[in-house]
Amino acid sequence: MSPRVQRIIGFVAFAGFVAFVAVLPSFVSDFKAREYSYVAIYLIALLGLNILTGYTGQISLGHGAFMAIGGYTTAILMAGNEQFGGPISGGMKDLWTLPIAGLVAGLAGLAFGFPALRLSGLYLALATFAIAVAMPSTVKRFEEFTGGGTGIQLFGSPELTGTISNVDILGRSLTPNDWMYYLAWSIAIVAFAVAWLILRGRTGRAFRAVRDSETAAVSSGVSLARYKTLAFGVSAAYAGVAGGLFAIASAFVNPDTFPIALSIFLLVGIVVGGLGGLSGLVFGAIFVYFLPLWAQGADLGSLLPDRIIEETQKPGGPAIVYGIVLILLMFVLPNGVGGLFRRIGQLITSRRYSRSK
């Protein structure tokens, strides 16, 4: 297949996917629509993390912390003056807080990306892991801004958000759940397109060069400092937007909203989705959202004996299943589900190629 044909197929698939996302709420229950909006939120965060880890080769075990920065930015802006005596009176509408959440998290990412320049591989994993673990207690320390352990309720003023009453948009009335779904997915699709644009050109090439060999990248004139920091910033901005949406969807934030487990989930998501590819991340997001639910045995039904289902539903059971699945996945599919699809695609196309010869 020529690159041109591949590109056309890519566009058609993307358009098909957008159409699918647009009509899906008509076929599923209102509650399901809300669940699927979380998939979009994870997708946004995964797109960001993949730019950093998949394309630039910098492991981050702490992206939940950048989501927390975004989430708290949204929450503080929405709660406004009444709660904290802050500079913004009356609170801000949820939608408008999202760009700011992305910006603040992105700046934090740039700030962290700078010291991170000197860390590589395991050390970076370690430092980012420490960030994620230290996040909740830092949040508790600055109680006057973050509400401490209690957190912040986002719905002090219902008119600021579309998530508790019906929303009229483009002549249609949407239920709160459908509104959340369309909000999250619209942003996710834009985020996807932006990631694609960033990665296809010069910047994306520089990222990949840094990942494949720092030495080779430097000797070809790629500035490590610039591109690594940039990757951190962009990636954190994505996480910030996702965090803001997460806060809106859950209607409150507290230190437990963004636990260390979230950071782990995100890393798992990009590995499942296949590092260094974009479309696989959709599977990654689905996996990350549904595996914990699936691990509770909710959808397994008659596949397994009742006794086992019962056991996995005890507290801790889902985590056991999750951990084991994670390890097995690394044994069986080192390149993730996305890698598997790429592999199958290669097999098919290469065979066709040789036949036509």
Partner: protein, 304 residues
């Protein structure tokens, strides 16, 4: 007033040394694994947690007395560490960094889940083998548990040093860490040495966990913070340096206690208990920026 402040200061130092000894043990476990396998084991804290629960269930549910349970736990942990290496780590050892990191994270999640599943999330009490008495040494009040903790930590470190320095197994372990290929050529069973390293690390973790539980209480989140302090200790001392891990652990323990002490007397009054973990993070970042090889490490030289 000054005398009181001084004895208070010394008390903080002693209890800092005690918690620092615990961090040192766990840091040592991380260093042993990092030296031999080049892996940072994110599941190290949870492995220690599991061991501690085993000790607790032996004493509480099965009526064992402390020291037999202690020894049995060490044996089980040692075997468990070897088992984990053979079953879970070996298949991915030669794979990419990310794969190994994720496998140890998977272990972290699974072991923590298992502990909650088996023993519920309820906090439990593990008794201290050293009792609850306190001694007054020249105006400085120290608890028996702190002294015992320091003694056990020092003892274990000396034993380990002896093992590495004076036995044939220790020589083989060091050879494996320095150069696995050449070690294999001279007849060292490298795979077993790596597994042995994991066994020793699990054993160290078990001691650290059993010494932690009496003061902070046994619950499934007990080791999360200790692991970060141990990371900080290992980075501070140099991730490839066993001596560094011990010194780093003690320094971290004392540093954190002194910050709380000073904040009581007005200096560093921004410091609160919540900032202990973020401080450890700052230490990690600071060391990695200023002296990435740590106090005792050698700078890594990469051949291009």
């Amino acid at each position: 007033m000054l005398a009181a402040a001084f004895s208070d200061f010394m008390q903080q130092v002693v209890s800092g040394l005690a918690s620092g000894g615990i961090y040192a043990l766990l840091a040592l476990a991380l260093v042993i694994i990092h030296r031999s396998t080049g892996v940072i084991n994110f599941a190290q804290g949870e492995m220690a947690l599991l061991s501690t629960y085993i000790a607790w269930t032996l004493t509480f549910n099965h009526g064992w007395s402390y020291w037999p349970a202690f020894v049995a736990t060490l044996a089980i942990s040692f075997a468990g560490g070897i088992g984990i290496h053979r079953v879970v780590i070996r298949p991915v050892e030669r794979g990419s960094l990310l794969r190994i990191v994720i496998v140890t994270i998977g272990l972290l999640v699974a072991i923590n889940g298992f502990v909650v599943w088996q023993w519920s999330g309820e906090p439990q009490q593990l008794q201290s083998p050293f009792g609850t008495e306190t001694y007054d040494i020249g105006g400085v009040v120290v608890s028996a548990h702190d002294i015992g903790t320091i003694a056990v930590a020092v003892g274990i470190v000396l034993l380990l040093w002896g093992l590495f320095q004076f036995t044939k197994v220790g020589l083989a372990l060091r050879a494996t860490a320095v150069n696995p290929e050449e070690a294999r050529l001279v007849g060292v069973r490298v795979t077993w040495m790596l597994a042995l390293g994991w066994g020793l690390a699990a054993l160290l973790g078990a001691v650290a966990g059993m010494l932690t539980a009496p003061t902070v209480g046994l619950d499934p989140n007990m080791m999360a913070a200790v692991l970060i302090y141990a990371f900080a200790a290992a980075v501070l001392g140099g991730v490839d340096s066993p001596i560094g891990a011990v010194v780093g652990g003690l320094l971290i323990g004392v540093l954190l206690n002194l910050l709380s002490y000073l904040s009581q007397y007005g200096a560093f009054d921004w410091f609160t208990e919540e900032l202990r973990l973020p401080m450890a993070l700052l230490v990690i970042l600071g060391v990695l920026l200023v002296r990435p090889q740590g106090i005792f490490g050698r700078p890594a030289v990469k051949r291009v």
